[in-house]
């Protein structure tokens, strides 16, 4: 790795903390981003010669703040002075930077930066795009490629999202304990959205597949600053476990390989071990939450040496728990699958019945239903369910997977 490559990594790593702190000073996202940009340019000029600073984030905040102040002063010569409240802490701009970087501050800086990307008025895709731009520092073309849209369209989307966030007013006061917990919850779902965007793209679109790594990086960052939060441990464990199967989820032709058919030697044991360590830590807190339970379910798959040795009994119990703490028809659908593994397809189909109405336009519902009907030997009905699934498929890979199932039907009972 060359020096410049290392510097770029250090800049990316320092970004959430640095932009978060600059946002607190300048109280304006654009000013904060420009100041950070300027500090990065200076870093690229001076670090190769002088060597990287011991604390890159502190350096970038200090330099960024000074350059931001300069920019505001230059503008002020031509414009009336900005109101005093427009930015804070400028009087002690030369103050001791170690002091400024007191950990209690920077935790909330990073959390705030992530939180403003999660404005409830923004649709999911805009939340993801905004977070990747502002928190992760991905470029607009990178994000555009991942979402399969043009650069100018993505640029517009991000600009609109930023304007929406600015209009909403950024919450600058230090949050109270209850508020902090609420913010952590909202930010956690945003991170999981980023992950899922990458996960569902799979190998079809490597640009968005990289979102999985990015989501894991953001979750690790959050957990480092809030080390005692068991749901964060659960979220990180869940993503690590799902990501550990990345190399086994698709075959060479790009077709989906179901969990039970995956080559488990291709699962990434390093990620699995880290996730299991996190889950063990989380469980000690005795505060179960949806991410922890989902991670525990996924961990049971990871621990099973083969699909046949999966502990379905325990998985059904965990789904019961998940249904209680986070009831949703999708959770019930997953439970139905687990029950069918334990008691046969009829038991699973029975649990699907009450979900039919709410999940009628959900691809997986019809895929699962078709699969269970096929197992029960009700091929004609299975065919109907699979046809419905194909009509609702979200990707060519999903479509192809259902077609394979239909082929199996035809073999079993030539039409």
């Amino acid at each position: 790795m060359t020096d410049i490559a290392w510097i770029e990594l250090a800049l990316t790593a320092a970004r959430p903390q640095a932009v978060g702190a600059l946002l607190r000073y300048f109280r304006d996202l654009d000013t904060a981003e420009e100041a950070f940009q300027e500090a990065c340019l200076r870093a690229i000029r001076t670090w190769p010669e002088k060597g990287p600073p011991r604390d890159p984030a502190a350096w970038l905040i200090f330099v960024g703040r000074n350059s931001g102040v300069d920019a505001i002063r230059k503008r002020a010569r031509n414009e009336p002075l900005p109101e005093e409240e427009a930015f804070s802490d400028l009087s002690d701009a030369e103050g001791d930077m170690a002091d400024r970087l007191d950990s209690s501050h920077y935790r909330d800086d990073i959390l705030r930066l992530m939180f403003i990307c999660c404005h409830p008025d923004l649709p999911n895709t805009q939340q993801i795009a905004l977070a990747l731009r502002i928190v992760s520092g991905l470029t607009v073309p990178q994000i555009a490629r991942a979402f399969l849209v043009g650069e100018s369209a993505m640029e517009q989307r991000i600009t609109r999202a930023k304007a929406r966030v600015a209009k909403a007013g950024i919450p600058f006061e230090t949050p109270g304990a209850a508020e902090r917990v609420e913010r952590l919850g909202v930010v956690s779902s945003m991170i999981y959205l980023v992950f899922n965007e990458g996960y569902s793209a799979g190998i079809v679109n490597p640009d968005s597949a990289a979102f999985c790594d990015e989501a894991i990086r953001l979750a690790r960052l959050l957990l480092r600053i809030f080390p005692g939060d068991p749901e964060l441990m659960g979220l990180l464990a869940l993503m690590l476990l799902q990501h550990s199967r990345a190399a086994a989820r698709f075959d060479v032709a790009g077709q989906i390989v179901l969990l039970e058919d995956q080559d488990r030697t291709r699962w990434d044991r390093k990620l699995i071990n880290e996730a299991l360590a996190l889950l063990d830590k989380a469980i000690r807190h005795r505060q179960p939450g949806p991410y922890q339970v989902q991670a525990a379910i996924t961990a049971l798959h990871a621990r099973a040496p083969s699909a046949q040795e999966t502990d379905w009994q325990e998985i059904v119990l965990l789904y019961d728990l998940l249904e209680r703490i986070q009831p949703s028809p999708v959770v019930s659908l997953n439970k139905a699958v687990a029950v069918s593994k334990l008691k046969g397809p009829d038991a699973g189909l029975e649990l699907l019945e009450p979900l039919a109405e709410r999940l009628q336009s959900y691809f997986y519902f019809h895929g699962v239903k078709g699969g269970l009907l096929m197992q029960a030997g009700r091929n004609r009905e299975a065919r109907d369910a699979f046809d419905r699934a194909i009509a609702l498929a979200n990707s060519p890979a999903e479509c192809a997977h259902i077609r394979q199932q239909i082929d199996k039907l035809s073999v079993a009972e030539p039409l």
Partner: protein
Amino acid sequence: MLYAILCYAHEETVFAWSKEEEEAVMGKLMEVQEPLMKAGKLGPVGRLMPTTAATTVRKGKEEPLVLDGPFAETKEVLLGFYTMEADTLDEVVAFSKKLSEVNPGSSSYEIRPFYVFHPNELGKRETST
């Protein structure tokens, strides 16, 4: 004398490495270790999982406290370690310098002589990297 070489680094940077970058660095580190390994002087080598996977047991007033996270919250954290047999400190310093040269993520290597309490086969069980 037995020495432990403790590798400290900026965790955020190291865990932002892509798979390719990670593999490139690991490959170079392996090259540096090979001569020692062949000479039978290299002991167990370990990479620590991220500090988010760490738990600390700290002496409390009555019972020891179990805390989430690493022992100290610092910018640079312990990321891995090597153990080796050497006759002189110079040998260990030379080896550590070579490691440092090929590892852009590391900021320092702390050299600490140590005693072995329980020599055993534990290292052989966990060979996955």
